[in-house]
């Protein structure tokens, strides 16, 4: 009976997830698609919890609810032809039926291959799997949360490179020019809410960073949550979402990678391997790296939301620097391209 109830619950979750995913891609109205996508992210967080992955659920909750939704909604204002309510994919060209059929067959074929690989992976019950290795060596990793152990000890090299990828992507965004024009100072309701919500977010973010050593949490979750505070500030009218300008911003963006590298290289200098922590020091070193990474991730994610360099746009809005991209956007809306 209880097994059936679980299957019922799982089926409900999956059905809702698939419906939202399908709806967000199939609907004519792009706005509708974006709102459905926000719901999709929410459902995904529930699914992660259901699959016993609270670490991922925390990151999904912070990014899905706090960052992606806001990013998509502000990007919606850039898309040509979406200023009216019912606008959709204004720039749709028609594809030949044969090409679209071929694409469908191709995606279906890939799905079958992927599904077969998945079933094979489930059938293999390997006793000496990586999971057992992780649990066996967790004692010397300096942390007791296995996911943090994998991220910052066993596979710390990967995580360093991932942070570098993050920084590289955001350097690309920075080099594309000034940030979006920002938002009007909000009314009393939103600014009041932001005023006391942001400090609470800072505290919870610090808590997630600290608790990551022994329970779900860590740099990625804390950083994403911290970035959401910046998004909230930005929406309430703060021009740069709480970020500093110029050199301080650059420093903040690379601090995670920098501290990671410095610790790794110092360990090499004292005769150990790259990022091969001494057992007694592992916990503190991981906390130091995670603290720096939290700041770095938060700064890069806020820049990603701003969609450009907050420093390049002068405080004075009447200069051409900020006026031109906006005017171009306006033009775009008027004449539907193609």
């Amino acid at each position: 009976m209880e097994t059936l109830a679980w299957i019922l619950l799982d089926t409900m979750l999956v059905t809702a997830l698939l419906a939202l995913g399908w709806g967000s891609l199939a609907s004519k109205d792009l706005r509708r698609g974006v709102v459905l996508f926000i719901g999709f992210g929410l459902l995904l967080a529930l699914v992660w919890v259901r699959l016993r992955a609270p670490d991922i659920a925390l990151a999904e909750a912070a990014i899905g609810a706090g960052l992606t939704g806001a990013l998509m909604l502000s990007a919606l204002r850039d898309e040509p032809g979406t200023s009216s309510e019912a606008a959709g994919d204004a720039s749709v060209r028609s594809t030949p039926v044969s090409a679209s059929l071929l694409l469908t067959l191709l995606s279906a074929g890939l799905a079958i291959v992927l599904g077969a690989a998945f079933i094979c992976a489930l059938d293999r019950t390997d006793p000496a799997s990586l999971a057992e290795e992780v649990f066996a060596n967790l004692g010397v990793s300096g942390v007791s949360n296995p996911v943090t152990g994998v991220l910052l000890n066993f596979r710390a090299y990967d995580t360093l490179l991932e942070l570098a990828v993050l920084t590289a992507a955001v350097l690309g965004i920075l080099s594309l020019g000034p940030a979006r024009s920002g938002y009007q100072a909000s009314g009393p309701m939103l600014s009041g809410l932001t005023g006391w919500l942001v400090p609470v977010i800072l505290v919870v973010s610090g808590y997630l960073l600290w608790v990551g050593a022994k329970a779900p949490g860590g740099a990625f979750q804390a950083g994403a949550l911290l970035a959401a505070a910046g998004v909230l500030l930005r929406l309430a009218g703060h021009p740069s979402g709480g970020l500093p300008r110029e050199l301080a911003l650059r420093g903040l963006m690379v601090v995670g990678v920098a501290v990671f590298l410095i610790i790794g290289l110092t360990l090499m200098l004292v005769g150990r391997g790259f990022l091969d922590y001494p057992v007694a020091w592992a916990g503190s070193l991981i906390l130091a790296i995670e603290s720096a990474a939290t700041l770095g991730i938060a700064a890069t994610l806020i820049v990603a939301f701003l969609c450009g360099d907050p420093g390049q746009r002068p405080e004075n809005h009447e200069t051409a620097d900020s006026g031109v991209p906006l005017a171009k956007c306006e033009n775009n809306r008027r004449n539907t391209p193609r």
């Binding site: 009314g187 309701m189 939103l190 009041g192 809410l193 006391w196 919500l197 609470v200």
Partner: protein, 102 residues
């Protein structure tokens, strides 16, 4: 222990009444005729539904820290729901969404 069963019973009763408000909120959101009345239905789930659920769970939790987090979650949802329903209603007014007339 009669105290424990009493506690469990009360906890279950609070959770069930919370669920009733959730369902009422959902049905209201589906059945009511215009944006503004649907907003009103939504707040039942946010404020009362989640509140009763939180208090039901409070009775069955031993950890004081978890209890603080539960109450904090309810307070946060209350504040967010107040602000966001206000913002949504304001936007609907600005766009002159129709008001239902019987």
């Amino acid at each position: 222990m009669p105290g424990k069963t009493m506690n469990e019973f009360l906890s279950a009763a609070l959770i069930v009444s919370g669920l009733a408000f959730f369902i009422a909120g959902g049905v209201g959101l589906l059945r009511l005729p215009d944006v503004y009345s649907r907003l009103h239905a939504l707040t039942k789930a946010d404020n009362l539904g989640l509140g009763l659920l939180v208090f039901g769970l409070l009775l069955s939790t031993d950890d004081a820290f978890v209890a603080v987090k539960l109450v904090l979650i309810w307070v946060l949802v209350l504040a967010s729901s107040a602000a966001s329903t206000y913002l949504i209603a304001q936007r609907a007014r600005r766009r002159e969404r129709g008001v239902w007339k019987p």
